[in-house]
């Protein structure tokens, strides 16, 4: 059984149908990279998975439990899915340590001292254990994103969803975030990542999904997608982003 399964997801904003039936499956430990032009519905799709934006139609399962079921405990299920935002969204009134531990105390009901220890462990993992007292506004973008990854990790999620985690960053800060993500992928975390960092995709993606106009045009393993895409649009798009973004790693 796959860890994540999305089936025929539809979402409409006003007249515009943003998602026109997107389905995919993700195995435990797998890293899947989603690419596609702007406005294609990639972010909407991620938000449909954790129900921040409930889809109009279609179903989602996490580890066999239906997330789209009207009677499911969505808060409990969300706690099992990390979400890393493009613009970090760290809690601006909390310091680094509290940002990472607040989910543990408020959502998981873990005691403060224990939460603190767990949070420290995750901050070490992203290399920021020396910044525990800093507030988000005192950190660089790259550091903020690493804290937000630690915040997701601390919940011990089954899966982490990343929505363009490096595209709000100055080029010189992208590397430190990708490095953390690559390490995570190698450690066996299940990840669904919207990104145009093809260096990352080549390094750790098990599968690349190309989305356009609300549908999945093509998906396959990186080698096949880069060297022999079946769909001409896939090749065009891959060339374009490799040109635009280079291959930072």
């Amino acid at each position: 059984m796959s860890l994540l399964k999305a089936e025929n997801i539809h979402k409409r904003y006003g007249k515009e149908e943003v998602l026109k039936g997107v389905s995919l499956e993700l195995e435990r430990g797998e890293t899947m990279v989603v690419i596609g032009p702007s406005g294609t519905g990639k972010s909407t799709f991620l938000r449909c998975i954790n129900q921040l934006t409930p889809p109009d139609k279609g179903r989602v399962w996490l580890d066999g439990v239906e997330v789209t079921h009207p009677k499911c405990n969505i808060n409990r299920l969300r706690a099992q899915m990390g979400f890393v935002f493009q613009d970090f969204n760290l809690f601006s009134h909390l310091n680094t340590l509290r940002n990472v531990s607040i989910g543990l105390t408020k959502v998981k009901g873990i005691r403060k001292e224990d939460a603190r220890k767990l949070a420290m462990k995750e901050l070490e993992r992203v290399g920021l254990d020396d910044k525990i007292d800093a507030y988000p506004a005192q950190l660089s973008g790259g550091q903020q994103q690493r804290v937000s990854i630690a915040r997701a990790l601390a919940m011990e999620p089954k899966l982490i969803l990343f929505d363009e985690p490096t595209s709000a960053l100055d080029p010189e800060l992208i590397g430190e975030v990708l490095e953390v993500m690559i390490k995570l992928a190698k450690d066996g975390m299940t990840m669904l990542v919207v990104t145009h960092e093809m260096g990352f995709a080549r390094a750790v993606a098990d599968e690349i999904v190309f989305m356009e106009h609300g549908v999945i045009v093509e998906q396959g393993n990186p080698q096949q997608m880069f060297s022999a895409p079946k769909h001409p649009r896939t090749g065009e798009f891959l060339n374009k982003i490799t040109e635009l973004y280079g291959e930072t790693e």
Partner: protein
């Protein structure tokens, strides 16, 4: 004598600010998160109580109930009238602050499994309270002065005492009112200084917030 009477103004001030803060927070939260029905109701409340003159409210709260045989002590009537009025203003300060918080804050809270209420309590309110402090200094300055209005319902506050002094010794009238002026200057000044101090204490390191916009 005037200073003793000032204590009543200060008591009224704290009572009405507290009531205003409590009600104002609830009204603001309902207006932002309450959905259509409660939101409209809250907006209506804020609108109505901001458009009625303070004096009219005082009369309504004091003389209104007595028409039905319920006699309310002047202090309670004044607290209710001015507190409710202040809550209408405070709700708008607070609502502005809530709306100035980037939506991503709530999204991040929900995406880690917090309920909406948890997100409001642990993430939104602490940030909104900080953002509100500047607006509250304003509201504070204006309600400090409003407490003198309570003399129309017979509260023994400072202005009423100045009036009594004038009635007895007309030659002291100027002096009495000057003293009242000084008292209010000192109250407003020290209140604003304390709020400024609080604002500094609670400032989030590194964060620049100005008029509700946030710079990264």
């Amino acid at each position: 004598m005037l200073l003793r009477a000032t204590l009543i103004n200060i008591e009224l001030l704290f009572a009405l600010l507290f009531l205003g803060l409590l009600l104002g927070t609830v009204v603001a939260l309902l207006q932002v998160y309450g959905g259509r029905f409660a939101g409209t109701l809250a907006a209506g409340y804020a609108w109505v109580f901001r458009s009625i003159p303070a004096l009219v409210l005082l009369f309504l709260f004091y003389f209104g109930p007595s028409q039905f045989g319920v006699n309310i002590p002047p202090f309670i009537a004044a607290t209710l009238a001015l507190g409710i009025r202040s809550s209408a203003y405070q709700s708008q300060i607070f609502r502005g602050a809530i709306q100035a918080i980037p939506q991503g804050q709530m999204m991040a809270a929900r995406s880690m499994g917090m309920s909406r209420l948890q997100g409001i309590i642990t993430i939104i309110i602490p940030q909104a309270l900080r953002l509100s402090l500047a607006g509250w200094s304003n509201e504070f300055s204006s309600v400090v002065k409003d407490t003198t209005l309570a003399y129309v319902v017979g509260l023994n506050e400072v202005l009423r005492h100045a009036r009594i002094i004038m009635d007895r010794h007309y030659e002291l009238a100027m002096l009495a009112y000057l003293a009242v002026a000084v008292i209010f200057f000192v109250l407003t000044y020290s209140g604003n200084r304390s709020l400024g101090w609080l604002e500094g204490r609670l400032r989030i390191p590194g964060l620049q917030m100005k008029g509700g916009t946030q710079n990264k």
